[in-house]
Symmetry: C2
């Protein structure tokens, strides 16, 4: 690969208004799909070359799906049918509203309209130690790394001398009782019941503990109290240790200490506790509120009528959503589609339409026949019907016909056999602390 200085963005000049979209997630993709190349030149930047379907990421981490099944190459989604669309796999380094320019690792580009759709990143609330030692679950490499970690814990628990250290390999602490934490805990419990006892015949899996730690007083705080209660019962049925009203004080890679003093020895702390907006340098602090860009109902960032923010990075305060929209796919999808309409209005000098979120409901899965759903009009589903709804919705929204096929194949296979199939240990990257301390992984990988 080349040095950065040899590269250039190489975007053709245009007389059409140029829309630059930063991020190929739910917001960015749905915006770009709805902008016509006849009216706009559309440029999309992303550090990755794929669009990930993050609601299924926890299944990659728990060996249920291969990473390629939940992601779609952005260039495949935007093929030659999309006239004057330009994707560049490059990191954006800054925004310069005064010159209407965006900077990337390989050069600058002027824009007419800039759309920030960068989503969120893990938020460790300033705790560098937790950042260093915990396992995040935001990106595909995170999921592959966590999958390898889980499986290596069992391999090593099978070879350990000291019973106390063995227990620390079999303790899994998930911090954060939102959908990611709940679904991950449920999937781990299914592995413990169906897969691991046959993989490790000599091991006693009644000793494997799964802790789900939540700072608030219920799991799935964004969902209804009814669904929270059902979820808590389901989690207890499958043997999850739930710790509510509990905050993490510190984690040194071996022991997690909670505020209040309680400690658990664990080699694996999964951090699903919080996210903050993945902001771009260059906008003043007044434009943000706790890491999200303040936008009006047209998704314009306050003070910057040509710069928009959509999805998780946008904070649109409305009467119904005084704390902004929930951080899930639907608001991003709907804002992306809606902004396409408003950009057309702008260039046609028509009045803009305010965004209104249509809540289609929300779902969470704990395991086979165990799921919860909040529907509009305060209706709730649970059990088999919610489980079927979860499966259907996730396959329906998954991008790409091949991905739908592969995911259905895997789920059908798992339904019949109870097997999580993709149990390969492939470390996608070596973390800094691996290089320093994880002698075992390093020595194993050390090729002659």
């Amino acid at each position: 690969m080349l040095h950065v200085k040899e590269l250039t963005l190489n975007i053709p000049d245009t007389t059409k208004p140029r829309v630059v979209i930063i991020g190929g997630g739910f917001g960015g993709v749905n915006l770009a799909k709805n902008l016509s190349g006849k009216e706009f030149q559309v440029v999309m930047f992303d550090r990755q070359n794929y669009h990930g379907f993050w609601p299924l990421l926890y299944q990659v981490a728990t060996a249920g799906l291969e990473p390629d099944a939940i992601a779609e190459p952005l260039r495949k989604m935007f093929d030659e049918e999309y006239e004057d669309f330009h994707f560049r796999q490059v990191k954006v380094t800054g925004v310069h509203p005064e010159t209407k320019t965006v900077s990337t690792l390989v050069g600058d580009l002027p824009y007419d309209f800039l759309v920030i759709a960068t989503g969120t990143k893990s938020n460790y609330f300033g705790n560098e130690q937790i950042k260093q030692y915990s396992f995040p679950l935001k990106q595909i490499p995170d999921a592959l790394n966590l999958r390898s970690q889980l499986l290596q814990c069992f391999e090593q628990a099978n070879m350990i001398k000291d019973p106390e250290v063995r227990q620390s390999l079999l303790n899994f602490v998930i911090v954060g009782g939102g959908p990611t934490g709940v679904e991950l805990a449920g999937a781990l419990a299914e592995m413990r019941k169906h897969v691991l006892p046959s993989d490790y015949p000599g091991m006693d899996f009644s000793r494997m503990n799964i802790y789900l730690v939540e700072g608030l007083d219920r799991v799935l705080p964004p969902m209804s109290p009814e669904s929270s209660q059902t979820t808590k019962e389901y989690l207890e049925e499958v043997g999850i240790n739930i710790k509510l009203n509990t905050l993490v004080e510190s984690y040194d890679g071996k022991v997690v200490t909670f505020k209040g003093g309680e400690q658990i020895k664990t080699q694996t702390l999964i951090w699903a506790a919080g996210v903050s907006g993945a902001q771009i340098q260059g906008l003043p602090p007044e434009a943000s509120d706790r890491g999200r860009y303040l936008v009006n109902t047209f998704n314009q960032i306050i003070g910057f009528p040509e710069i928009f923010a959509i999805g998780d990075i946008a904070f649109m305060k409305t009467e119904k959503y005084p704390r902004g929209h929930p951080g899930v796919a639907q608001p991003a999808i709907q804002q992306g589609k809606h902004l396409a309409k408003n950009l057309r209005h702008i260039i046609r000098r028509e009045p803009l339409e305010p965004f209104e979120y249509f809540d289609k409901g929300s779902l969470a899965i704990i395991g086979r026949n165990r799921a919860v759903a909040d529907l509009p009009k305060n209706k709730h589903l649970k059990g088999f019907i919610a489980w079927m709804a979860w499966l259907f919705v996730h396959v329906y929204y998954l991008i790409g016909f091949r991905n739908k096929l592969v995911v259905l194949t895997n789920w059908l296979y798992k339904f019949v056999t109870y097997e999580n199939s993709t149990r390969l240990i492939i470390r996608p990257y070596i973390r800094k602390d691996d290089i320093a301390g994880q002698e075992f992984v390093r020595k194993q990988a050390d090729l002659d």
Copy 2:
């Protein structure tokens, strides 16, 4: 993860003869499947926790299959049905025939019978520079790394200033005209024709060059001259530049120089030129011949009746195969099964049976409707019928029902759409020279 000193192999004591198998490839797996836990205690060591189906590895590298589809977790293959079978994911560091002990990273284990089934590793013929800069294709992380490299070359070629450097990104040099090199070249040619022009609408793919370099005077030297000739014609039809009788002198990451002086500028040199046995320390040099263990027809290593070598690491000189058996799956599979029989003979004090290789034929694929097959009795197939045979044989031998399903789904999808679907850039590891020189990859990955 833990420090090595905290671990131990933790294999139960036994009164049965203990067979220690090093390597979970075709040989090791077929041996273990045919040894009864009633008669033997079977211990298998592998650095990976999966059995890979390497004949399909090139499809992972060219974005046709996900890695999980061509590999099966060893613990899944050997579940609780296999009595007294013990898998340990650990690196073997040495053999001590005098004490009948094998050493691993986490401890020693006495054996009654030791079976070395470690296969091969890439052979760079002592050229450290080529080892550092070229892309091997032996393991799943290699394939993921090569896939990312290929896709990043196109991303960067799209953003490059200098036309000469752009050309070096679009030159792909495959060294080695054996099955891996030929199949990889064919798959790259299909991508160039069907996938890339729609992914990169502005780019001129007539400038993309695929070179296949072979030191001997024909491609596929292990196959019949007829199949070599057909393969050469197929490769030329799909636009591969074949260079026969050509040896690589050096490669510095930018320019490959051939013996004779010719040079090609390329960012991607794929090394499929040679392998050598992945030997274990501790046996005397007389027991080996150019990296393979010399074995008798019972697969016993010369001078060590309790140590066996099977598959690619074994060199069994016979009248029909004076240079050993071909380095493909079938001899390993057959030797594994056969050795199980002979180990039973040994403990029952019965005479051993000499191994005889049954050549079922060999196959290679270049692309849709383009394949070659050598059958027993000097029969040859080509074209559609050989292509169908290739597809059938590879699905048939692939381990695991889920893998068969997923591979068939992918192939069917590709057959209809001409798409290589798994085009995600996920770097599985950072190579030493990435850290030093690959500024672009590093800066992109540098999270805030």
